[in-house]
Symmetry: C2
Subunit: 393 residues, 2 copies
């Protein structure tokens, strides 16, 4: 921890001096909201830190060399994020003594495909990457998933570091080691559990995140409140306005708490054989909505918002959830500018897609229900009639 704090101090000092804001001693800049938060994902010899803070990107190279000796690295980013941050990332890696090649993929879900994956392998071979080389995923969930899967499968697995640049990636997809690509038949049908060596969540990059993506990320944040932490849910309710205007202090708090919860769940169930399934609250229907509407129509977080609203109503019918909580969730999602209905989609289509989901077993979709605020449980529901009734409202 010492070196982290030291590094932080140097950056903060530099920034304060440059900005002409340095009014106190170095000590005074250690206010709680400015510190680098470090959350450890405890997974034995696959444990790794999530670092959350400001001005972290320039320390990427240092983070990598802490995980292993400097060597070759492949930086993977996309056409939205690359032009903004790839130079800073490459510069940091090179300063740490790494030999870097970069690949900028087209932004969007369509990139998570076979063709792009095999392009990444080609780049890695061309760059002479060995099993000690690093893959750095600089981007949102799409980049993290495909670059992570490439790292999982190239030479039977090489190290990688996640640098999430969207709220959704920071609070969800970058943590926990799920990687993968899509097939024409469905999302994430091919993949691996491959834990990163480190996750670097630089809150500064959220400044350039489009507002719609920010709101979509908030859906996953609300999810953690619903499934795990009633106080956190209340905090979100009390800070709707701060959330909507991307307040940095609030951003730090929600990223930290979300990562803490996810790290805990993953620790107890790395490969999703039990507990981890609760992270899919709202996702059973959410995935089906994304699929039925055509990928890209709804952002993932938007579809999850609709799915959560639905799952809460289902929980009221099947798991005793207080209708007051159903209402509170509905209001919070709406206030955060998130959708709660998907107009124009047919229930029969959605149900058929849910049955094909990889979590469904023997013709029953797996829903996650919340018996009370802050508590969740996976449940195979068989009564399609009830599911439809709740959908119809």
């Amino acid at each position: 921890m010492a070196c982290v704090v030291f590094r932080f101090a140097v950056y903060q000092l530099k920034r304060f001096v440059l900005d002409g804001q340095c009014e106190g001693s170095i000590g005074s800049i250690y206010t709680e909201e400015m510190m680098i938060e470090k959350i450890q994902v405890e997974l034995g010899d696959r444990s790794y830190p999530i670092e959350i803070g400001q001005e972290l990107l320039p320390s990427l190279g240092e983070v990598c060399t802490r995980c292993g000796p400097p060597g070759r690295a492949l930086l993977v980013s996309d056409s939205n994020v690359g032009p903004l941050y790839a130079d800073t990332a490459v510069d940091s890696l090179e300063r740490a003594g790494m030999d870097v090649a970069s690949v900028i993929l087209p932004a969007g879900e369509a990139t998570k495909c076979e063709g792009r994956l095999f392009e990444l392998y080609d780049h890695a071979i061309e760059h002479g990457m060995s099993r000690y080389s690093f893959v750095v995923a600089l981007g949102g969930g799409v980049v993290g998933d495909i670059a992570g899967y490439m790292a999982a499968s190239y030479l039977r697995g090489i190290p990688f570091v996640q640098v999430p640049t969207s709220l959704l990636a920071m609070v969800d997809s970058s943590v926990g080691g799920k990687t993968g690509i899509n097939l024409p038949q469905g999302k994430n049908l091919i993949g691996a559990f491959h834990q990163p060596r480190a996750v670097l969540a630089d809150l500064d990059v959220l400044e350039t995140l489009p507002p719609r993506e920010w709101r979509a990320g908030l859906a996953e944040v609300v999810k953690y409140g619903m499934i795990w932490d009633a106080d956190f849910f209340a905090f979100l309710e009390a800070n709707r306005e701060g959330l909507l205007r991307c307040d940095k202090e609030i951003a730090a708090r929600i990223v930290r708490r979300s990562c803490e919860i996810k790290a805990k769940v993953v620790r107890y169930d790395e490969r999703e054989s039990g507990l981890r399934a609760i992270l899919n609250f709202g996702h059973t229907l959410g995935h089906a909505i994304e699929n039925a509407a055509g990928y890209g129509e709804y952002l993932h977080g938007e579809a999850v918002a609709i799915g959560m609203d639905y799952a809460a109503r289902l929980s009221a019918r099947r798991a005793g959830l207080d209708t007051d909580v159903v209402e509170r969730l509905h209001r919070l999602l709406t206030d955060l500018g998130l959708p709660t209905t998907a107009d124009g989609l047919e229930w029969t289509d959605l149900y058929a897609i849910m049955l094909r989901d990889k979590k469904s077993v023997r013709g029953k979709p797996l829903f996650v229900l919340t018996p009370s605020l802050g508590r969740a449980t996976p449940c195979y529901l068989c009564e399609e009639a009830l599911c439809k009734e709740v959908w119809d409202g």
Copy 2:
């Protein structure tokens, strides 16, 4: 173990009666060489048994249902093995209550490619396979590698069972969880460590193995003697003739001892971060020979035989191996009909390929040396001059 012995007794009884050879009581058929051997690969919650014996294939379904409830299964085989044994395998799986689809791939190394892999995914989706479904690999190393990798990556990993049908697959590739496919740039560049739920080595299927493939498999058996067990090496020397005529009793013994050694090595180093590298004795040059000569020209075991002969001579120069052992190895390989030289291949080509190997680090190929018979150690040698001198003889 009780149920295994019981099943064995039933099969043996049936066979003895059918063949009119039943001369004794049931007790008398429990001679050591006829028993089902069971070797456990100890890997915590990824532990699994290797069953070695005769008439095992008809119990495949039972082995699968011992690993999990019966559901859907995808049987993957090739055009050599499928026509001989796929029916028996499918029949056994169906009798155990499984819903089976089969894929017969073209025999040969060229099958371990991107296109065939994605065909397998398509078959799995079409067959409605969930994360609880089984992949069964019925074949040699190629089938085991691609079917195993498909199982490793489909839905982030589903169970699979190895049914090796070549000696090489029985003593090497089916045990230890290495799976993968080739890229045009090289062999096994994409892959995963994914342990099977069980390995079923039915010695009866060796009867249909072409003699050249049998001899190639013996190269890996000799390797275990060289790197781990001097007594086993002496046993092989003393039984050259039995080995050449595929004596069943000797086959059972060499498969068992090879699997025991491999299981021990894998137990201590599942993901090849140390000890496991010794299994590559003879493989550094062997892989380069396969590549330089064009895949298919030399069988894997033949190339490994040449590589072992070379590695022993290198060991005499750099690790103090007694030249008498170099001679004994050379004689044994020759007596078993295995090559020890690769005419027409250029050293510069081979060395360049070795440097590109995924085990090489910073421009140095990784050789495994044997300081004495039964002992091995990985070693990064830098003197290309010495390597070339030993090659030139």
